[in-house]
Symmetry: C2
Subunit: 372 residues, 2 copies
């Protein structure tokens, strides 16, 4: 039924290889043959069978993308960027959503390998993922996205730096009593954010007591648990949430409870998902470099694919800097407001002298220097 290179050849009165040459411009054809081939193709509405071509060429021009989900704004953006870049580079995206199931993820990767994808972009779903271990079996290049894996290619955000940016911002605004909404780290990213945040606060002589940390699964519910923190004395004047969804949960609770943002309380998120800009006032947040992550991951993988067995790219771990988006949800500490020191003691202060100037606070504070 369907036209093949053979049927085209027959109709055009030439050999299949000639048609192939025509299609791939792999040999010069005389004008006459070219024309007759062209006509035959049109007449039969011939379309090359890419599956057959792939089999022959041992290259499918397809890339597997495995990701925990695409409905959360962060992963959705990443997946979208990747598909775009891949399409531009001539690769078809095979999408696999792991739904945070390590088993499913594993079987998806196996499937993709069976399908002879040229490479895989993997946002693995949890520490429990056994993909990395299975990797020795896998002959296909893999780039890990938003997760670091020892001795593997990866591209991700500098979460530690992101945490520090948030910490510095709040400390600089004068906040001394700060609450933390900590996502339970399914992946080390979140832990790094918290660590960076705390390390930076220490530069200001601040430490966050355990009571000021609400921990839980990193979703909206966790944000709602801000009520626990609000009952503490002194009440926190600022909140750092380990992602924007959590921040929005907290936001909602705060507004319902009659708090005004940022007058009564400042709040900083992480990710910079699209909604964050739409809140009133818009959310101050640490923006992940979505586009860069996706673009870089594709670039790296495509290089890897094209390198084949020859010279593999050297850089193994790309770490991209996030940026602090200062918007309306944070403000300087109100004089005499809640959370002010009680009888001269700042309850969270552990070191005597917070740095006076921003400059000095920065000096030596970082494992890596701030960009700005």
């Amino acid at each position: 039924m369907k036209a093949t290179i053979r049927s085209v050849a027959k109709l055009a009165g030439v050999a299949p290889s000639t048609v192939s040459h025509y299609l791939n411009q792999t040999a010069p054809l005389s004008a006459a043959t070219a024309k007759s081939v062209e006509e035959a193709i049109a007449a039969l509405n011939y379309r090359v069978n890419l599956g057959a071509r792939s089999l022959r060429l041992r290259k499918t021009n397809s890339i597997g993308v495995v990701i925990p989900n695409i409905t959360s704004p962060f992963f959705g953006e990443i997946a979208a960027v990747m598909e775009n870049r891949l399409w531009e580079r001539g690769f078809q995206t095979l999408l696999c959503i792991s739904e945070r199931s390590p088993e499913r993820e594993l079987s998806q990767v196996a499937h993709l390998v069976s399908r002879q994808v040229d490479g895989i972009l993997l946002v693995y779903c949890s520490q429990k993922s056994r993909v990395a271990e299975t990797l020795s079996d896998i002959s296909v290049p893999i780039v890990f996205v938003d997760r670091r894996v020892p001795d593997q290619y990866s591209v991700c955000t500098d979460n530690f730096l992101g945490g520090r940016l948030a910490g510095r911002h709040l400390a600089t605004l004068g906040h001394r009593v700060i609450g933390l909404l900590c996502g339970e780290p399914s992946v080390e990213n979140v832990a790094e954010r918290i660590q960076g945040f705390q390390v930076e606060l220490q530069r200001f002589g601040l430490e966050i007591p355990e009571a000021y940390k609400a921990k839980g699964r990193q979703d909206l519910q966790l944000g709602l648990r801000i009520t626990d923190l609000l009952q503490l004395d002194p009440r926190p004047t600022a909140i750092f949430a380990t992602n924007d969804i959590v921040a929005i949960g907290a936001w909602r609770k705060l507004v319902e409870s009659g708090f005004r943002i940022p007058r009564d309380i400042s709040i900083v998120g992480f990710d910079d998902i699209a909604i964050s800009r739409f809140l009133v006032p818009p959310l101050t947040t640490v923006a992940q470099p979505y586009r860069e992550i996706g673009a870089k991951a594709v670039e790296l993988l495509v290089d890897l694919v094209q390198a084949g067995e020859t010279g593999k790219p050297a850089q193994e771990n790309v770490i991209l800097a996030p940026t602090l988006k200062i918007r309306g949800s944070t403000a300087p500490l109100k004089k005499g407001g809640a959370g002010k020191a009680i009888d001269g003691r700042l309850p969270q202060r552990t070191k005597p002298v917070p740095p006076k100037s921003k400059r000095s606070s920065r000096k030596g504070a970082s494992r890596r220097p701030f960009k700005s």
Copy 2:
């Protein structure tokens, strides 16, 4: 290098076809041969080449999904549901994001066909899409999603009904001066919502003057233009936005301008994207049946694929009912509030007698009866 069915056969001391039979359980093997095949497979870490199998079987077990984007909540959900269902049914999803470009869309569909996908799920991007016309060239079954196409399989929401639900809700709450934020219909869906809304209002003797309609590209910006409507006299007491994003834009402007929702103004959206629930108060909206749309589309397409040339499923257009989610953003019209009739005349009333009871208002109002 890579193990093939041949190398496995050689190692196991059997014929390739025997290995194939083992893999596909297409013939019973003696325990001994089965075991030796098994061992050979393990020893060589053999994985079947699905590309080759597809070529032979003329079936790729893959489905193309073409969609304008996946970062907007609506399309993201749809794409996610589809991938899930397809994976469950044993199909790999080939994702193509058209980015609202008709040309790109067309070339993506062509690519998918060349890749021998077994079927295509298509959310086409605009009226300008020429896919439907090109369809005669395409031998692959297609199901159109969220768009109706004459004589083609499709599944979408009953947008007209959705509009009516919104209209009835606001009218029943007593609102008489109502503003409309109308997305510019890139696709007939939006027009149907507006039409349904207005048809239902007419049942209540209401008509919306042109001045009370703000039109524009269906995005956040359009919502901001609510300021135009607020300057009208009488001021609208309720707003219907043709989707939630637009509603959120309006929301933002309203809050910034000091309006209280729903005390000062009621607002109804369309879609029920995830954010809508998180607003304070949460947004009343017409919920699209995301999961049902995605699930049904996959089901239909898979049936089509499996039917092959034999009996094609009869149902061509599946229309799924949306549901009204009444939440906090709408409230009964305040007595004596803004928008009340001026010297006894309701400016928007065109017919003398609005129906007294809900019952009568419903009777004959619908092309299809309400579900509830």
